[in-house]
């Protein structure tokens, strides 16, 4: 028992001694130590920054998805991969309103759906002020129940608006056009038509794709009014199943229904996609894991290069300090003590590199977070920090062990004779 205690004390002393020797060595060669760790610093900084950006992107996208329920379904036209329809123009392939007639009766798992028509970009004018481009979406009233965007002033699009020139605008556009806060009842000019504002709707959480800074405005009008801008317009739809549990059934029912109304033969591929948001999120997750892995691989390589750098410097340092090693052995340093000294030195270098790397990664993360609203939620998750350190330490051990063994094996006399 007592022997064990003394062995433990000796071990503690051994570790402390190695750390002490390594630290004094690193301190004595400050410049070189800094240069040595740069590879690791860059590796760790880039890992943490990339992981942070991905995490932020994911958090952001998930938060946007939250404006939809988790039983939302997106219905879009999609060109088939094979068959004669793959070369059709969008005009031929687009959805037509009739194809959705009777949808709810035939899809018992479906709670509601809303068609959305795209009228493209139009110029908007109010008095003297104007906005060159605003995106015009025509929606059916049920759209409000699927995409939960708050109404700031006034009301949303409802059944009574069918065929009427009314619209919803966003607060930003209202301010840009110099309208009053409560602008309900005012008329604005969209393209060549006057529309009466019935409400102000919250801006969609900005996906920011296409660059931050550039303002994008959306105007919501009743679905039928889309035809006033274009004879043939692009249509897609959002739908909602009765509950998250029957989501898959709802998707199947929709597909079955649309295949029939779009006259798709049994041996033909779908000319549309029906995808639940959940599966879209899963797809995104898959992609983000892949990106993480690729980024991880790149970073792994950079850490490897950093590790080789450390090994190189350690080897140089050992051949420079051969005499010192000889002397230390001559005054009684055991192989294990020399081995530990150099190993601990490599690990400490990597670890310090890791700390500085995480620090720089944090700065990069802040910069990224401010660069683009899409990345504003960027932060370094704890696991990324732990991983960086584990990796840095591993690199230190793997690339430090070879030089350390080399040092430990030196013969004291030959080492002392070394010039």
């Amino acid at each position: 028992m007592k022997g064990l205690f003394y062995a433990f004390l000796a071990f503690i002393q051994f570790v402390y001694q190695s750390v002490y020797l390594s630290l004094s060595q690193i301190w004595a060669n400050k410049t070189r130590s800094i240069l040595t760790t740069i590879g690791i610093v860059i590796g760790v900084a880039s890992t943490t920054a990339v992981i942070a950006a991905l995490t932020g992107l994911k958090a952001k996208i998930l938060s946007q998805v939250e404006t939809f329920g988790n039983n939302t379904i997106i219905i879009e036209v999609r060109w088939p991969d094979t068959g004669p329809k793959q070369n059709m123009s969008w005009r031929q392939l687009r959805f037509r309103t009739e194809e959705f007639a009777g949808l709810l009766e035939h899809c018992p798992s479906l709670e509601r759906y809303a068609l959305i028509g795209e009228a493209g970009q139009q110029m908007v004018k109010y008095g003297e002020k104007s906005v060159q481009y605003a995106q015009i979406h025509g929606v059916e009233p049920a759209w409000h129940d699927i995409e939960h965007r708050g109404i700031v002033v006034g009301r949303g699009i409802s059944v009574i608006d069918e065929g009427r020139a009314v619209c919803l605008i966003e607060p930003e556009l209202r301010d840009k056009l110099g309208l009053e806060k409560d602008c309900v009842g005012e008329s604005i000019r969209i393209g060549f038509r006057n529309f009466r504002i019935v409400g102000v709707i919250e801006k969609r959480p900005d996906l920011g794709i296409g660059g931050g800074g550039q303002e994008r405005y959306e105007i919501i009008i009743p679905f039928e009014m889309t035809a006033k801008f274009r004879q043939e317009f692009w249509v897609w739809a959002l739908a909602e199943s009765k509950s998250p549990e029957v989501l898959d059934e709802a998707v199947a029912e929709l597909k079955f229904f649309l295949r029939r109304t779009r006259h798709i033969q049994p041996d033909e591929q779908d000319t549309f996609s029906v995808e639940s948001l959940k599966s879209a999120i899963q797809t995104f997750n898959k992609i983000s894991i892949m990106v993480t892995l690729v980024a991880g691989g790149v970073v792994g390589i950079s850490l490897l290069v950093g590790g080789v750098g450390i090994m190189n410097i350690m080897l140089v340092s050992i051949s420079e300090r051969t005499k010192e090693i000889g002397l230390r052995k001559a005054v009684g340093a055991k192989k294990s003590a020399i081995l530990m000294q150099f190993l601990v030195e490599a690990v400490i270098l990597c670890f310090v590199g890791g700390i500085v790397g995480v620090g720089i990664g944090q700065l990069l993360t802040l910069a990224i977070a401010h660069s683009n609203p899409l990345l504003e939620r960027t932060y370094i998750p704890a696991w990324a920090i732990v991983l960086s350190f584990a990796f840095a330490a591993t690199v230190g051990i793997c690339f430090g062990i070879f030089p350390a063994i080399k040092a430990a094996r030196l013969d004291p006399i030959e080492a002392l004779r070394h010039e």
Partner: protein, 255 residues
């Protein structure tokens, strides 16, 4: 073979029997040590002399456990070192041996005190109070006021004193010095040799390799080597007499 000049009182610290050390260089085998018999007792002060290449450094390296003999046995403090492993040898070097080199071998980035502390870092009982022990050792060699000096802020003689303090810090059974004054001018050499004499008076056992005749004034026993063997082993008076009578004693002329 040779007369033994060792005093009969005091414990035997070192016993060499049939000690040989061969080096292979290509096909040639060099007998650097070719059968050395030696007994060293407590508080002896021995000077080893001889021509260049006679095997003095090789002997010191074996005595200092820096090198292993090819044949024969070596006992220090009653322990047979010949069969010991690396770790045990390291601890013998640490505990029982203080080695002083011709070229000082101080670590340039450490100050005098830290240099002297170094062996204590590797001692099992040296961890606590090591700076106090290093200080004491520096005071013993007369450098109490140079503790914070780095080697490049010290004179040659002072550097060698630091190295001696380092050799003494673990209270070794024996102090080995291979041409400790080889890099010093004659005045400084004299000071260093006086220091060795002083340490000897305090009870330290010392073996010193030197080419200087003056060392006889300090050492009590002179061993002369030739071709890896001990040629003569005499008291300093006998050695003096023999060299006066014109005996063919190697190492008489300065190299």
């Amino acid at each position: 073979m040779s007369q033994q000049a060792s005093s009969t009182n005091g414990n035997v610290i070192i016993r060499l029997q049939g000690l040989k050390r061969f080096y292979r260089v290509g096909v040639e085998e060099i007998h650097a040590l070719d059968g050395v018999e030696l007994e060293v007792r407590e508080n002896e002060y021995i000077a080893v002399m001889g021509h260049s290449g006679s095997g003095k450094s090789t002997l010191m390296n074996v005595l200092g456990c820096l090198d292993r003999p090819s044949e024969g046995s070596y006992e220090i403090d009653g322990e047979n070192v010949t069969r010991m492993g690396d770790a045990e040898l390291a601890s013998i070097r640490n505990k029982r041996i203080g080695f002083v080199f011709q070229s000082f071998e101080l670590l340039s980035q450490l100050n005098a005190l830290k240099n002297v502390e170094m062996p204590l870092l590797y001692a099992s009982n040296g961890w606590f109070g090591r700076s106090a022990r290093a200080k004491k050792s520096l005071e013993r060699v007369g450098l109490g006021d140079r503790m914070k000096h780095k080697p490049n802020q010290l004179s040659g003689g002072e550097k060698q004193r630091v190295a001696i303090a380092r050799a003494l810090v673990c209270n070794p059974s024996i102090l080995l010095a291979d041409e400790p004054t080889g890099n010093l001018d004659s005045k400084t050499s004299e000071n260093i040799l006086e220091l060795f004499g002083e340490l000897h008076k305090q009870g330290q056992t010392i073996i010193i390799v030197t080419h200087e005749r003056d060392v006889a004034q300090h050492a009590k026993r002179i061993i002369r080597m030739q071709d890896g063997r001990i040629l003569t082993d005499l008291t300093s008076e006998q050695d003096e007499a023999k060299s006066q009578s014109g005996g063919d004693i190697p190492g008489k002329e300065k190299l």
